[in-house]
């Protein structure tokens, strides 16, 4: 009998810790609030375009800005990979500041919403970071995992072939939970594929002309400060529009180059949505040191200030190709870069397609955003 009591006490202690920890994990289900913007037309759910998402943790908000004036349609995706914070913050900042004058803009800030509800084991990832606004209030944002939460989609199959023809086998099999590997999706596929299908269907149903998918990468990555552009015979304008955007950014003093979508990048947004929809597809990456294996202590300084001396040292010693800034690459600059890219893309698109122009205001120039800081760019929540 005494043995049993000992076991019961051990189990109870374990249960106590489990309950305390689970409160923390469950709190990640609560999503960030977005400040009201009087220019916002409506908020739809992605399940309008992919009925299989209804009632799941992956059904996500689509913010619609309709100028009421004729023009083109742009789709902005943030949070495809929830650990790439600049994507989500840029999308939220856009929603809070945008004023569309011609055409329509659709924005999805949490593209893989399920991914925002967990972090990646062993990465020691902080689940949240905070930004102090100019009025002194504090806004908190989640940092998730690039894959869908296994609670929502598990186990990973050892072999899977998506609609794009990408074979998820071997080292890629966990990617069955990665939104950016399963495009153009499948109406009744696995949960992550239904998200992809929703976006594919949105592009087709709303006649989206131009799409930007916002990402970040660890410093080892070769495609930083680069925009991937789809290329296909019936959309030859795409690279010309992207080059115009890149040159504008370069003239503003920002590094930016363009690359064609990779031949075998099946299932990625710029490749598979580019091949299968009429939209011009682009994807941009900024540097995020918190995602790399060399990162030091995980804290707000790393995530918000993008300050990682380890990477600066590794770059100086010749291991990291990317020109790692000594004093970090703050989230404000990364967000500014994404927003500048969006503005110039829309502008270049409009110059090439004057009848389908997409014209908006409210985002400001790169220097404006960096000078104002995220504290002014993001609006207080009442």
């Amino acid at each position: 009998m005494k043995e049993y009591w000992k076991n019961i006490v051990v189990l109870l202690i374990a249960l106590l810790f489990a309950v305390l920890a689970s409160i923390d994990f469950i709190s990640m289900q609560v999503q960030e609030k977005i400040a009201p913007n009087q220019n916002l037309t409506e908020v739809k759910m992605l399940s309008c375009y992919s009925p299989g998402l209804k009632g799941t943790d992956s059904d996500t908000e689509v913010y619609v800005f309709d100028s009421g004036n004729p023009g083109g349609t742009m789709l902005i995706l943030g949070g495809t990979h929830p650990n790439e914070s600049a994507g989500m913050v840029s999308a939220i900042a856009t929603i809070e500041n945008l004023e569309v004058e011609r055409g329509r803009v659709f924005i999805i800030p949490w593209t893989n919403k399920s991914g925002f509800t967990h972090t990646s084991p062993l990465d020691g990832m902080q689940d949240r970071f905070s930004i102090t606004l100019s009025d002194g209030s504090i806004r908190t944002f989640r940092v998730g995992n690039r894959l869908t939460n296994p609670v929502d989609q598990w186990p990973d199959r050892t072999y899977y072939e998506g609609t794009s023809g990408r074979k998820l086998i071997g080292s890629e099999s966990p990617e069955i939970r990665n939104v950016n590997r399963l495009y153009y999706g499948k109406e009744n596929g696995v949960l992550t594929e239904r998200v992809c299908y929703g976006i594919y269907n949105l592009i087709n149903a709303e006649g989206v002309d131009l799409t930007m998918d916002m990402h970040e990468g660890s410093p080892e990555f070769l495609y930083l400060d680069c925009t991937m552009v789809n290329q296909k015979a019936d959309n030859e304008k795409a690279m010309s529009i992207a080059s115009s955007m890149a040159l504008s950014m370069q003239l503003d003093g920002l590094d930016m180059r363009t690359e064609y979508s990779g031949k075998s990048s099946y299932g990625l947004s710029h490749r598979s949505l580019g091949d299968n929809t009429a939209s011009m597809m682009t994807l941009m990456e900024t540097y995020n040191p918190s995602m790399g294996p060399l990162h030091g202590k995980m804290d707000d300084d790393l995530i918000v200030n993008g300050n990682e001396p380890n990477y600066y040292q590794a770059h100086n010693e010749g291991y990291i190709y990317f020109d790692v800034p000594e004093n970090g690459y703050p989230l404000a600059e990364r967000v500014a870069r994404h927003l500048t890219c969006i503005s110039y893309l829309a502008q270049s698109y409009s110059e090439a397609n004057p009848h389908d122009a997409i014209v908006f205001e409210g985002l400001g120039s790169y220097d404006d955003i960096v000078e104002k800081g995220l504290g002014n760019l993001l609006k207080p929540i009442d």
């Binding site: 080892e220 890149a246 363009t258 064609y260």
Partner: protein
Amino acid sequence: MKKIIVVLLAIALLIGFGSCSKAATPAAAAPAANTPSTGTVDSEYDPNATVDFEMKTSADKRVVTIGEIDKSLYQSPIFVTSFGQSTDAAMLDTVMKRVGIDYHYNPTATADDIAGSKTVIIAVGASTKGLGAAGISEADETARAKAIMKQIKADGSQVICCHIGGSSRRGALSDELADMVMKQCSYIVLKEDANFDSKFTDFASAHNIPISLIFATKDTVSVFTDIFK
């Protein structure tokens, strides 16, 4: 026994980690890891191509021109095309738009398209992805380039060789196309990091061709504004 081993292990670890000081010799430029967890794959962008060398241009001195450029040579009609189908051609197209002059742009132009042009600007730089996207084989691209160079010779047009993709455009095919263009050109515009082996500057001085070294792709705008305006 165990205690001795513990102490020895602890000392070994301490020495091991302690000696990991910051004062170590910098290693030779090594490639960055290919992190499978991020974004896209199959890059042809090879950072290994970067070789440290003394550059003439810098962030403060963005354009360095060696030799005298005779601006009067470059008359309209102007034609812009690509040899190698890299993204540099689209960039050059954008640059020309900014310069604000009349020109024709066709990255896959044939010799016939080019006939009659007085100035031909060629964006040199091979991209397997670009060739694939345009559905052109390497052999076809080389053949097209040869035909165009032949046409240019017959027309007596002026050629500007524009290599603005940097060190990542220094593969075998890129170099073959660049050699072809340089033999007939009267002016070279070069993003300087591609000149790590001084291939371009050596050719230019040997054949007395003016060459403008630029620090970044965007500096092409100021170079061409200078030439055409």
